[in-house]
């Protein structure tokens, strides 16, 4: 087992780095997109609501792999060249943003209507009330489920292996097939994933318990 680690240290680190990079980029952009669509869905204009609903329904109900494959095979062929890493990250961002939008929307809805009415009757505009009264409260509630979405995102980044994204899982396959030590390789890669996900999910559980009090 040690031999696999020492012989392939570089490959493991490259994979680990690409997984972190992809997850971080996807996290940032899916947060922006997710909050945007959540706001669109709770805002008064009907048109915006419908658009947000359609966006969320589409990206929640199609497998991540299908979305990533569309960006890997179809988009480069007809629109713009994308590497496997880019295609995977874009697909992951869109997929995760739909889940984040749902989470944030539920958070906003859980804030009593009286908060909005109170802020409006004190002379705030809708945007001001949203920005200074509703969102700060909603964000506090939403942090634990958002953290769980991030854990999912790190796990889902393994689809990069399908599109030659050079992530941890892709390296795992290369190493497993060159050394024939499949079980040992998978255990090592599993440990790498756990380094990223386990502390985060324990911390989120802790936060959840703290918020429930």
């Amino acid at each position: 087992m040690w031999q696999i680690i020492t012989n392939n240290w570089g490959a493991f680190l490259t994979g680990f780095w690409n997984t972190i990079l992809c997850s971080t980029i996807a996290l940032v952009f899916s947060l922006i997109l997710g909050v945007f669509f959540a706001l669109l869905e709770v805002a008064p204009p009907k048109f915006g609501r419908v658009i947000a609903k359609i966006y969320i329904a589409i990206f929640r109900n199609i497998p991540l792999l299908v979305i990533v494959m569309i960006f890997y095979l179809i988009v480069p062929r007809y629109i713009v060249k994308l590497s496997g890493f880019q295609a995977g990250t874009i697909g992951l961002t869109l997929y995760t943003s739909a889940f984040i939008a749902e989470t944030v929307r539920a958070g906003i809805n859980s804030i009593g209507e009286g908060q909005m009415e109170g802020a409006r009757s004190n002379g705030m505009t809708y945007v001001q009330a949203m920005r200074y009264i509703i969102l700060p409260q909603a964000m506090k509630i939403v942090i634990p489920p958002l953290g769980n979405q991030f854990v999912n995102l790190v796990k889902n980044s393994s689809v990069l292996a399908f599109v030659a994204g050079f992530d941890l899982m892709y390296q795992a396959q290369l190493i497993a097939f060159s050394t024939f030590q499949t079980i040992d390789t998978y255990i090592i890669v599993g440990l790498f994933y756990l380094i990223l996900t386990l502390p985060l999910s324990y911390y989120m559980r802790h936060l959840e318990k703290k918020l429930a009090k």
Partner: protein
């Protein structure tokens, strides 16, 4: 437009439907088995049996934090090294049951936890044993509470079956890949139709989940 008409010839559609059938079949078996596994593990974790609950809890946490793809690789490429023979179908069902079983165990645990402790106390003080109280009083209420969460977990299970293309399970995505690898102009028509097929199944399931969630919240 021409390519769409050609791509959706009956031969291709029938081939895709065969793939869809494998997706549904693998999903249904995995849902049934992982529900049983999840129920047992969730109960063990809830009951706080000395050592056993802690060990089960730790294993569940490990599995929940690993990518499903890694577990699929493990069951397909790893298990044969231990002398266990697998084929794509059994390997993907095993992987899905391990992964989703751990996910469901967590849902079951919090579902039982959401039932008022007074229910258990009341049932026990009426002379029921722990097992009877759990089976007749607590569990029915807990299951009722967790139905929406269970359904959305099943939606992700159906979507996750697509990952099994990598071990050549002949499900929907894999059949589409076979068709467009013979004629690359079918690329777009194939992805459109499989996206629609997945969408219909998952959207219906998630609408039911949303409806039930709203009904129970009121």
């Amino acid at each position: 437009m021409e390519t769409f008409i050609h791509a959706y010839s009956w031969v291709d559609i029938r081939f895709l439907l065969q793939g869809l059938w494998v997706t549904i079949y693998v999903s249904l078996i995995s849902i049934a088995l992982s529900f049983v596994v999840g129920l047992i593990l969730g109960l063990i974790r809830y009951m706080k049996i000395k050592y056993l609950s802690a060990i089960v809890g730790f294993i569940i946490d490990i599995i929940r934090n690993l990518p499903l793809l890694l577990i699929i690789f493990f069951t397909y490429f790893g298990l044969p090294q231990l002398g266990i023979v697998t084929n794509p179908t059994s390997a993907s069902i095993t992987a899905l049951v391990i992964f989703e079983g751990a996910m469901l165990a967590e849902i079951v645990r919090s579902g039982i936890g959401s039932v008022d402790p007074g229910q258990m106390e009341g049932a026990r003080s009426n002379g029921m044993s722990y097992g009877q109280a759990m089976y007749h009083v607590v569990m029915p209420q807990a299951l009722h509470n967790m139905i929406p969460a269970l359904l959305s977990q099943f939606v992700s299970l159906v979507k996750d079956t697509s990952l099994a293309t990598i071990i050549v399970l002949s499900e929907l995505l894999y059949h589409a890949q076979i068709i467009y690898s013979q004629n690359t102009t079918y690329l777009i028509p194939m992805y459109v139709i499989i996206a629609v097929m997945y969408f219909i199944i998952c959207f219906c399931l998630s609408q039911v989940a949303n409806y039930l969630q709203k009904k129970y919240n009121n």
